[in-house]
Amino acid sequence: MSDQYYSAAAGAKLYMGQTTTTPLPADASDTFLEVPLLGTIGPPPHEIGSAFFKILNDTNKRSVGGGKADQLLEGDLVIDWSEAVHTAMYADLQVSGGQKRNWRIVYPNAGGRTLKFKAFLSKWTEEPFDASQDAKEHRAAFSLTVDGAIAAS
């Protein structure tokens, strides 16, 4: 038995594909830049729809599974407008219908588990400026809406 668990506190990385053509290239054919100053990143959840039913007077219910539920990825970062990736993320939110890109999440585990998927930025919310608070880094929360399957390796 090996101890290959890892920390959820630090080390995960998010990479943004640079190509925005339609259709998008395959992940292996795209160029990726790391999203700098990443604070938190939540891997997309996986949920399958479920329905329950009974046949006549069965004591126990039966169930059937459906398709995957919506997959939304949430994260936040410390804003640096001198970073091209941050300005590109903001610009993506100004595109009507969203700007699809290839994205990768690399886990901090020993093997560098990687999730590869297509998604578009669907939210960019900057913290309010609050003069009553102590000075701190300005952060933005963002969401990525996943389009299609997620490949894990």
Partner: protein, 129 residues
């Protein structure tokens, strides 16, 4: 380093102590008044992707004198004017914000005709190391 840059600024901005600004303790037999700077707390600098974020430090500045109250309060007020609301480069340290937490606390000690004057102010720094 914040402490060194802070002392240099206080030497420049607090004429009442004529350069007598010390870290942690004042030397034996020094002329008075003096300022003594004590770093009482701080956060470990954090990084994101290897890039340093803001650090935080709590610093007490003690204006110390004897007998007469006037020079000591003058030194304390000059120190506060030099630091409270400061934002910018202080030596090699970039200070994002500095604020004084309140009016000087009087910790003077009086024993018959002997008076030891000490006014203490707390400052909170947010800075980039």
């Amino acid at each position: 380093m914040l402490e060194g840059d802070l002392i240099a600024r206080l030497i420049d901005e607090v004429p009442s102590v004529a350069g007598r600004v010390h870290l942690t303790e004042a030397p034996q037999g020094t002329d008075l008044p003096v300022l003594v700077v004590v770093r009482v707390a701080g956060t470990t600098p954090r990084t994101l992707g290897g890039r340093a974020l803001f650090s935080r430090a709590s610093v007490q500045i003690h204006a110390v004198g004897s007998d007469v109250y006037g020079p000591v309060i003058a030194a304390a007020n000059e120190a506060r004017a030099a630091l409270d609301g400061f934002k910018g480069t202080m030596g090699s340290t970039y200070v994002e914000s500095c604020r004084c937490d309140g009016e000087p606390a009087d910790n003077s000690y009086i024993d018959a005709d002997k008076r030891f004057r000490q006014l203490t102010q707390d400052f909170r720094f947010v800075y980039r190391p």
